[in-house]
């Protein structure tokens, strides 16, 4: 349960990090908070020859508010979001979700960017960001580029990020005052990865009525117009969406996702701040 041998570098900016990574000829790995990569290296599921630690890059901690968008630096920790140390454009949704990620010792180190780049389908950020429809800011050898939410996650543990690219931050649209949200996850044990996730973001002023079925095989399933589940509860529509999300009727997966979706919808009907 010890990591295999590797070389370690700690650059101070992204350009240097990319240059160092490129020397590894594809055998390197970027390290953010290390709360997934650390265990995977200890278990030798991953054996990079070079670890490029992004922890020394101050720019990746920068957060800024630009009008209707907030950019969170990739190295923002779950705990910083939980504690309200960074701007929250989501009217409480992000801090609330952050507070139930794993355990405090993990949240103190784990980062938004690391989690999104790792892209575990059952993790919180890939699902929440899909519900919020964010954009992904990327530093690549050729310069910077932006990846849309729809293009980000290609499957479990697979994103549109090329191996030498670095996710530098996420651009999150602000919810308006009239927005409602809910997020429900089912875990077998507190702090474990979710068995099922469901979320709603209802922001009529921005014409957003989005639903999400998450912790499924592959990328989260987004319900672009979830009106039938927001104005009352349309059971047939819910069934259609669960099937479209890849659930097979009368299975454990179908049932827990159906329950998560219904519970998320129910908590949303409460006034603003719809916590589960």
């Amino acid at each position: 349960m010890k990591a295999a041998r590797f070389d370690y570098v700690r650059p101070t900016d992204c350009r240097e990090a990319i240059a160092l990574y490129q020397q590894s000829a594809g055998m390197g790995k970027y390290l953010a908070g290390g709360q997934s990569l650390g265990p995977m290296m200890n278990l030798r599921l991953v054996q990079p020859e070079l670890l490029v630690d992004l922890g020394g890059i101050g720019a990746l901690l920068e957060c800024r508010v630009n009008g209707e968008f907030t950019v969170l630096g990739a190295l923002t920790t779950h705990a910083a979001i939980e504690d309200g140390l960074v701007p929250d454009p989501t009217r409480g949704m992000m801090p609330w979700v952050a507070s139930s990620i794993a355990y405090r010792a993990i949240r103190n180190r784990g980062t938004v960017g690391g989690s999104l780049a790792h892209a575990d389908s059952a993790a919180d950020w890939v699902n929440l960001m899909a519900a919020l429809d964010v954009q992904y800011l990327v530093e690549s050898p050729e310069g910077t580029r932006t990846i849309s939410q729809a293009d980000w996650m290609m499957g479990t543990f697979t994103t549109a990020l090329r191996e030498d690219e670095i996710l530098t931050g996420v651009r999150i649209p602000a919810l308006t005052v009239s927005a409602r949200w809910s997020y429900y996850k089912f875990n077998r044990k507190t702090g474990e990865f979710a068995e099922a996730i469901a979320a709603f973001v209802d922001d009529p002023e921005r014409h957003v009525r989005r639903g999400l079925i998450g912790a499924i095989d592959g990328s989260p399933y987004v319900i672009n117009d979830a009106t039938p589940l927001l104005d009352g509860w349309d059971e047939a529509f819910a069934h259609e969406q669960l099937i479209a999300a890849g659930m097979k009727p009368d299975t454990y997966e179908y049932r827990i996702h159906a329950v998560a979706l219904a519970r998320a919808a129910r908590t949303l009907t409460k006034p603003y701040g719809g916590k589960t």
Binding site: Y8, L31, R104, G191
Partner: protein
Amino acid sequence: MTLLELTVNGKAIRAEVEPRTHLADFLRERLLLTGTNLGCEQGVCGACTIMVDGRLIRSCIAFAVASVGSEVRTIEDFDRDPVMQELRTAFSAEHALQCGYCTPGMLATARDIVTRLPEADDARIRQELSGNLCRCTGYVGLVRAIRRVLDARHASAIASDTLRKGPLHGN
């Protein structure tokens, strides 16, 4: 080998380490601070929980090289810490430990609960303890021990407040 400079329990440390050495192994094998225990070595059980720069972390999934410049505090450094003194007494009184293997990590997490969440109710204490696995004592004693410290600190806060402002009078 990489040169590592950091502070451990108030002492400046300079050492050559292999990048693959995790912080818990560095503390235990190189500095002989064996109070930090290793359980799962994959960040799940919480036995290796320590404080780095004032925050709880898992030392089994943190590489020592990545801790350059950090201030590390292990269980050995908490001998004279007032909160930890209260917790140790409460752990004994409430039978919050049996074999003791999870205890260093439990105490670190318990101290974090007491200092960060003074208003925590029992459900919150349980939630916060969910990242530290205890397989022999059970959580009833652990929750009670932390409850006892929180209650005692509330009582003494009220008492000192009353002393400062004088007794309350109805109006």
